[in-house]
Subunit: 288 residues, 2 copies
DNA sequence: TTCTTAGGGTGAGTTTTTCTCAACCAATTT
DNA sequence: AAATTGGTTGAGAAAAACTCACCCTAAGAA
């Protein structure tokens, strides 16, 4: 018969993925981040889907979006579907000839923590090819193509991540600045080095140390922790140090901690992996 | 930190869908048909995926493709993932305000069988909006956006489809031609009307009737069964009639069956639905 | 109040992806 | 040898997806 076949198509898969991410993460911006696109792209995907369905999936409110009742009802089905898809994609990736391990980490963690440990990992698994991607937010290992992730995260009981070290912060500086700093108040005349993504660190520590930070204190902001760290080594000011990241500098005497007070951020440096790589991660951690 | 976020993307979802369809249906052309695209598009999707994976998923052979071992191992995971996705999409469709029933049928079935029954269906379900799409091949109801399908299919035991009527075929013609046809051999001087998609019908019937169709018999081919039927009504030749489709013409006397021999094609007119519409279909069938 | 911030929405324009089309093969089958 | 089946190819076209720059709203801060 060979009639023209205008097979009606289902909704675009990418729009479904955007919906699932936005619904799960509770916001378009977060979905955008997970999917590596701009929020505008998510807006458009959701609109496409709502038009296709003929019903709103999200309620737009000024401070964000809320799932409608129907949207909420639908979410679990899509979440499990995409979880299955993610698992299948991971299996697909396994086919590749040389085994590959793709690690996602915070830029600072990648540079200051991971880089010194990667050689050992390579030595232990010479047949593996390791690659590292710096990310602002921890990836969803079920969905994305990463095998390991190393991030500062709240060590919730729900997850099977490995706590590498609880996050402790305290001021550090170049050795020659240390003698002038006996109490928290001695920090005031110095420049405080601040990392953009960890801008609350000083507040956390100040509260713990009982230091009412005066408003006039000079600060210098950096977009990468490693940059701030470099400045601290050069004596440009006081950095709030994360114990796990600056240990080599303390041990080598490049930095010193002039004040004894440490504060816990409530986060921990956590290693997570997909199930396939659990064993490799476990053996890695036992050496730590 | 705001580092440029080149989040590595997974394989394109559409390529995965093409892979799943091709693997399940055992061929690129069939996958192309199910997805409503050309075979070339499937070729390209599969290539994209094979490049992404770095390993072949299909073995190319002259008469088609075969899944590689790895491809075969991967298929079930993708099939279940897309089944779940399909179910979720069906649920999504339910949100639409007015309930809609989308029926897929063979063009001939849509025109000759369904059209006379649709008014009753609309009357029974006045709140529903019915739409019909003509398709050459039965759709996969788990994946595509159809709710009902009516096709001639082999009534396998595996499926939950409803057998509406077993397919019986026999020659029919305009009343004025009938008197000249007493035995199968009297068909020889006439033009045989043939539908392109059912070109074997005459062979099936001839074999059953013990008629060795001479090679010189004139035939006229039509791309739609309804066209061939119209010609038969006009006395242009002999059509091989499908009982379920030409019954109204026989009852109205527009066509007659000059010969008593009927042949079974082994197919049946089958109604399938998604689970949500099972009840509606059952009640429809009890009226038949 | 007026500012500021957080989160979205928009539409134009661009980039990427996907698709079609029209050959072209290579192994069967007739 | 010719037709058939099923896949492949590359160019060009169409559709989808994305970015960018800017707008909007509500809520909290000053």
């Amino acid at each position: 018969m060979a009639v023209s076949p205008p097979r009606p198509k289902g909704p675009p898969l990418n729009a479904l993925r955007a919906f699932e991410a936005a619904a799960r993460l509770g916001g378009f911006s977060r979905a955008a981040e997970e999917l590596g696109v701009t929020p505008g792209a998510i807006t458009q995907h959701i609109k496409t889907l709502e038009d296709w369905v003929g019903a709103p999936l999200f309620e737009r409110r000024s401070q964000g979006v809320r799932l409608t009742l129907e949207g909420a009802r639908l979410r679990p089905a899509f979440t499990t579907a995409f979880d299955k898809m993610g698992a299948a994609v991971h299996a697909l990736k396994e086919l590749s000839r040389t085994p590959r391990v793709h690690i996602a980490a915070l830029p600072s963690v990648a540079q200051l923590w991971l880089s010194s440990r990667l050689p050992r990992l390579r030595a232990e698994h010479p047949q593996c090819q390791f690659s590292v991607t710096a990310l602002e937010q921890p990836p969803n290992l079920l969905r994305e193509v990463f095998d390991w992730s190393v991030f500062f995260e709240r060590p919730e009981s729900d997850s099977k991540g490995i706590v590498l070290e609880h996050d402790e912060i305290f001021p550090v500086c170049a050795p020659h600045l240390a003698p002038s700093i006996k109490t928290a108040h001695d920090l005031t005349p110095h420049t405080l080095l601040v990392d953009d993504t960890w801008s609350e660190d000083w507040d956390i520590w100040a509260k713990e140390a009982g230091w009412a930070r005066p408003t006039g204190v000079k600060t210098a902001r950096f977009s990468l922790y490693a940059l701030a760290l470099e400045e601290a080594r050069n004596g440009a000011g006081i950095l709030i140090g994360h114990a796990s990241l600056i240990r080599p500098d303390l041990e080598a005497g490049r930095l010193v901690a002039p004040l004894p007070m440490q504060a816990a951020t409530g986060l921990a440096l956590m290693l997570r992996t997909t199930p396939q790589f659990q064993a490799m991660a476990d053996s890695f951690v036992t050496f730590e």
